[in-house]
């Protein structure tokens, strides 16, 4: 290695080094393209990835799993979750048991996607999905309410703004 370093000072040596550099660049032309064409071709995120929006799950019989116990709000380091519990009406309960979440909001401009709420949830009501296509024009839109969270998230690439590419 050291022998070659001296001759770089000479004109022919310098020219050789430049040619070698260009060669490396030229080889690059034939290598595969690494760029991910995000809006047109979306890499499906790994199956268990949880970098997207939350989702409130339901039991098979349609009852909401969330019982409004506020443990997720307690566990959240960023205080992004707001829950208000209420009494289930025995005739048409919202969730199994005595208690359900009358109001459930997550502020996505506070949530750091750490998943501690999912760990804290005793009924597996709250899980993170991989629907990461979210951005908001105002702060209010960033607060997703219970009905929005109950809806299964739209598949990637269909959110507004992605068609134009």
């Amino acid at each position: 290695m050291s022998a070659r370093r001296e001759d770089r000072g000479t004109v022919s040596g310098g020219f050789g080094a430049t040619l070698k550099g260009l060669a490396t660049v030229f080889r690059q032309v034939f290598r595969a393209d690494v760029t991910e064409e995000y809006p047109r071709r979306i890499q499906p995120p790994p199956p268990r990835s949880h970098i997207g929006r939350h989702r409130l799950n339901r039991h098979e019989d349609g009852l909401e799993k969330c019982i409004g116990c506020e443990l997720c709000a307690f566990a959240c380091p960023a205080d992004a979750i707001w829950v208000v519990g209420a009494d289930n009406d025995p005739e048409h309960p919202v969730s199994p048991g005595e208690r359900y979440a009358k109001d459930y909001q997550i502020n996505y401009l506070r949530c750091i996607m750490c998943g501690m709420c999912v760990e804290a949830c005793p009924t597996r009501a709250l899980t993170l999905t991989s629907a990461y296509e979210m951005s908001f024009l105002t702060r209010e839109d960033a607060i997703l309410t219970k009905d929005q969270l109950l809806e299964p998230p739209a598949p990637l690439g269909t959110a507004p703004g992605t068609e134009e590419g």
Partner: protein, 172 residues
């Protein structure tokens, strides 16, 4: 208080702008649309990486995700030559005036993307040291959640901004 809103923030379109737009009527929209379309083609972001989101912004700018597909790979150091400020990372109270100065030095038209929850609303740092949301300092056009937002999320934010510029752009 887990979810709160801070006074004095606005989302880049003061109500006065809306009236003015309606008052000028339809005639100029075709010119508007053309100019706006042009404006969104190659927004040069000012380098404003503050914290961990900046590393993700670099990843977005780098080869894999490649902002240059929208002509945005050039992170201009001087605000004079930039039209988009991506606030990437938590903004400390000491940084706020600097951010405002950089924003003021940017020529019109200019837009702001607040990248990551810390810039958008203070994230998990609900304390005295961090500005609870950049929109209390500069008008923010698009908030991108995430900590840090995946490059695709940032790009989706940028696409939302392009859509916003294209549909609501106007010649001033």
């Amino acid at each position: 208080m887990p979810v709160e809103r801070l006074p004095g923030r606005h989302d880049g379109r003061a109500t006065s702008d809306v009236e003015e737009e309606v008052r000028r009527g339809v005639l100029l929209t075709t010119l508007d649309r053309a100019v706006s379309w042009a404006r969104k083609q190659s927004m040069w972001p000012v380098t404003f990486g503050l914290a961990c989101c900046a590393i993700e912004m670099m990843a977005t700018g780098a080869g894999d995700y490649d902002l240059s597909r929208w002509g945005m790979e050039l992170f201009r150091a001087s605000p004079r030559q930039a039209d988009l400020m991506i606030v990437a990372g938590r903004v400390s109270q000491k940084m706020a005036p600097v951010l405002r100065t950089v924003y003021d030095q940017m020529p019109e038209p200019k837009w702001v993307i607040s990248m990551g929850v810390c810039a958008s609303a203070g994230g998990m740092f609900t304390n005295y040291a961090i500005v609870q949301g950049v929109d209390t300092i500069v008008p923010v056009d698009v908030y991108v959640p995430g900590c840090p937002p995946k490059p695709e999320m940032l790009m989706y934010g940028i696409l939302r901004l392009h859509e916003k510029v294209r549909t609501r752009g106007r010649v001033r």
